[in-house]
């Protein structure tokens, strides 16, 4: 009969919360968003559990719910930051500051581009799976990734040949 809802949340809940933290950039909203998505999944669980990959389905719900929230929102609180005072790499404090700066840049990306980066670099998913989650083609995933990375390279002052998958 497949995995029960309780078993699913018990095993995958923490990963969903972490994904939501990266999508929302806000810990409290991440928890609310995940709770809301899981509550909706609970109502339809028998159907979801029958899918080949229930986790893909639920993560798609999470991404869509976050995008809907962004669309409803009038003003974004977080602005894109420049790397005007980029720290020197190597010292601990500097690396922390670097991650803060990269994080602000990621948060400033359009929803789909940020989602692609999170799913690719944090969840380590292939483009086909990311495409399933986002409901688009793998080509579109690569386009979002390329645009996001180009934006980050430009802001970070990284040459196009230095690192990052296409």
């Amino acid at each position: 009969m497949g995995v029960t809802f309780e078993e699913y949340v018990s095993s995958r809940g923490p990963a969903l919360i972490r994904l939501a933290r990266l999508l929302t950039g806000n810990e409290h909203r991440a928890e609310d968003l995940t709770q809301d998505v899981l509550a909706r999944a609970y109502v339809h669980w028998r159907r979801i559990a029958r899918a080949d990959r229930p986790d893909v389905y639920v993560r798609r719900m999470l991404v869509n719910a976050n995008n809907s929230w962004w669309r409803r929102r009038v003003n974004r609180e977080l602005a894109t930051a420049d790397f005007a005072e980029r720290p020197q790499h190597g010292d601990l404090g500097g690396e922390t500051a670097d991650r803060d700066a990269v994080w602000r840049l990621i948060l400033g990306l359009p929803d789909r581009q940020r989602a692609v980066l999170v799913l690719r670099y944090y969840e380590d998913l292939d483009d086909a799976t990311i495409a399933q989650i986002l409901g688009c083609s793998p080509v579109t995933v690569r386009t979002h990734a390329m645009r996001a990375l180009n934006h980050l390279r430009e802001r970070c002052g990284v040459p196009t040949t230095n690192g990052s998958r296409p």
Binding site: F5, S10, G13, R21, E27, L38, A39, R46, C156, S164
Partner: protein, 350 residues
């Protein structure tokens, strides 16, 4: 120098980190999900209530449970329940009949004390999940062997791994450690209502009070049909109907029916009718034909769906976990199936 990929990975890992209280997450998700499901049921029931006021239709054994009699009932919530079968004895009079016919249940419940959420007759055991009000639920199972009772599982309940032996059917309540997420323990009450019959009531709750309440709500002096809106009119050679399970937890918004068709050698096929009023329109184009109706064979080749049902899917799964049936067998079963005109109206089911 750290490349951009690595900087992104480190940044995301740092930002995603932090503890997560899985038990709390699960408990809240389940509570919110149940509330959402309840709201939708109440919404649908309100509309039915208006109809009832205008038309005052009699619904017999399958109709709404009058609110005052059942402590946990929302007054106008429509519920489904298996229909009584007059003339068929209950388990107390004929214990030898228990588990023999997947279309029958040889027990009943006092509608003033409990409401049917699910009912099933499969693998030699008959059972139900019951709502006793106040969010208290139990799973009940009845069989002629200890093994059949102990092997039975109900969707939505979490069970401990270990089973009990015959000596545990002594009428005593036993506590087991929390079998699932959350800290609530599990509670078993096992007894032998008549010689040769084994009964078990199980719940996951803070205390065991609901077990005795459930035991007193159960009766073994009547029989019910394993009522559902799905009937099978044709079976493949050598096959028989081996099980029936109906989940009406979300009724009338949703309903889940599973009929098991078996063959010698432990092989079986699952025929499933899933209804949810929020289902999008079903697939329009098939890749197979059954009689004059379109059907769709799923890419993995082990599931066939008969198309054309509004807000519902009717499928036959003949692959994993129990092989032994073919697409042709599935087509025979689906082609002979009958689905009630109104899935949300139990009066049209049989």
């Amino acid at each position: 120098m750290i490349d951009l990929d690595e900087r992104i990975v480190r940044t995301l890992r740092e930002r995603a980190g932090g503890t997560v209280d899985t038990d709390r997450l699960t408990a809240r998700a389940v509570a919110l999900g149940r509330a959402r499901r309840r709201r939708r049921r109440i919404g649908a029931a309100s509309a039915l209530g208006v109809v009832a006021l205008l038309g005052s239709a009699a619904v017999g054994a399958l109709g709404p449970v009058p609110g005052p009699r059942w402590p946990g009932a929302e007054p106008t919530v429509a519920v489904a329940a298996p229909a009584r079968v007059p003339g068929v004895p209950g388990a107390a009079a004929r214990p030898d009949l228990v588990g023999n016919d997947p279309q029958l249940l040889h027990f009943t419940v006092d509608p003033a004390r409990a409401r049917w959420l699910t009912w099933q007759s499969i693998a030699g055991a008959e059972g139900a999940r019951l709502d006793l009000g106040g969010g208290r639920q139990v799973a009940f199972d009845l069989a002629r062997t200890v093994t059949a009772v102990e092997d039975m599982r109900h969707e939505g309940m979490t069970y401990p791994a270990a089973s009990a032996g015959a000596d545990a059917f002594d009428g005593q309540v036993r506590q087991v450690p929390s079998p699932g997420p959350g800290a609530q323990p599990g509670w078993f009450l096992r007894w032998q209502p008549v010689p040769g019959l084994y009964a078990r009531v199980y719940t996951v709750a803070d205390d065991d009070s609901v077990l005795r309440a459930a035991q007193s709500a159960l009766r073994l002096d009547a029989a019910h049909r394993c009522a559902s809106p799905l009937r099978l009119g044709a079976l493949p050679p050598d096959a028989w109907l081996a099980g029936c399970a109906v989940n009406a937890v979300g009724f009338p918004d949703s309903l889940d029916v599973v009929l098991r068709v078996a063959r010698p050698g432990g092989r079986w096929m699952q025929v499933r009718l899933e209804h949810h009023r929020e289902m999008a329109g079903s697939r329009a184009e098939g890749n197979r034909t059954i009689g004059d109706r379109a059907a769709y064979l799923y890419p993995k080749g082990d599931e066939l769906e008969l198309l054309g049902f509004r807000k519902a899917h009717l499928t036959a799964r003949f692959g994993w976990p129990s092989h032994g049936f073919t697409e042709a067998d599935a087509a025979v079963v689906l082609g002979g199936s009958r689905v009630a005109a109104d899935l949300a109206d139990p009066r049209t089911w049989d």
